[in-house]
Amino acid sequence: MARIVGSIMSTHVPAIANALERHEEADPYWKPFFDGYEAVHSWLHEVQPDVAVIIHNDHGMNFFLDKMPTFAVGCAPEYRHGDEGWGIPTVDPYRGHPDLSWHLVEALVGDEFDVTTCQEMLVDHAVTNPMKLLWPGGGVPIVPVTVNTVMFPYPSAKRCFALGEAIGRAISCYDVEPDLRVVMIGSGGLSHQLEGTRAGFINKSFDLRFVESLTDDPRWATQFSGEDLVKETGSQGVELLMWLAARAALGATVRRVTWNYHIPISNTAAGTLVLEPAA
């Protein structure tokens, strides 16, 4: 059966794309952030994943308010990076893994998660930036899973946790490629808010408590409503739901491989975390 080698949680701030384009990794502003990826690269070299299931939120690229699925699964042979409108460089398409995608769809719907399937899907910085950060020279095929954090009501933290658990179960019974090594990616966060007079809101103590909980008490964040999360982490800090789902896929006990936290990158408290299942 396929196996999950671990989960990587990563900020996806758009400005990262420009910093990479300009080779600013060693710039004093960016260095504390990019340095956090060295340990991730070493870990990836060690675990050698074959495919990444990337849980992310769309920012007005593949979905508009005309149709807004709560959960969607990409089933496409490739995923093209669309023009986001504000000028970050576009990247070459990522390869998909349709067999694993359809297996996830079958298993998730069987598990009573009524997901939307997408045989065509554009991706934005929420997919491309983590991919560029994790695999500067290319990357593995991907299965994108999109969670609505555009329009309320968002799926609850409890539901996102359950989704992650269901993805974990689905991967563990994928037998088409029995030795397939899967890495989960939770894209987004941590605390930030872009809009309103509260723009620039960051909550370091909540972020740190949340990240601790992912190791010690993974259901801790499931107590919060969507509005609670906006209040505690900012309007876009709710992207921690992606981290929560990616954590839940790992099962009961995990080991922290690496963790880096830096404020600010752009308007965001940037976090990079790797967890792996504890033997």
């Binding site: 508009f64 309320f152 906006v230």
Partner: protein, 117 residues
């Protein structure tokens, strides 16, 4: 922001729910169209005409004309779509943060650094 937009009780924050999605549909649809370069050019060539094609209200058209981000939010704009409007003018999220909080960009950036201490 007015009482109505703070009905969820989070200061300085609009929860973008069904009411906002309905209020801002045309405005957001216009901003979503800016994912295409040809549309960005068409907007710049005739801003108000482009707004009318998407059925923006008078208040929304006025806020677009004034580049008034807080007013655009008040009238149903969603930050992800408004970012595409702002991108036409090469405004990044820190420019927008400064505009919305009444700070200079440097002051806004300093506030972010302070949040990390």
């Amino acid at each position: 922001m007015g009482e109505d937009t703070e009905r969820h009780g989070i200061p300085g924050t609009i929860i973008f729910d069904g009411a906002e999605a309905k209020r801002g549909y045309g405005l957001n649809k216009m901003c979503f169209s800016f994912n295409e370069e040809a549309n960005r050019h068409a907007f710049l060539a005739d801003e108000d005409g482009y707004c009318r094609r998407y059925g923006l209200t008078d208040a929304q058209r006025d806020a677009i004309r004034r580049r008034d981000v807080l007013a655009l939010l008040e009238h149903g704009g969603h930050p992800y779509y408004l970012a595409k409007f702002a991108g036409i003018f090469h405004l990044d999220v820190q420019d927008l943060g400064a505009m919305q909080t009444g700070l200079s960009k440097e002051e806004f950036k300093a506030r972010l650094v302070e949040a990390g201490r």
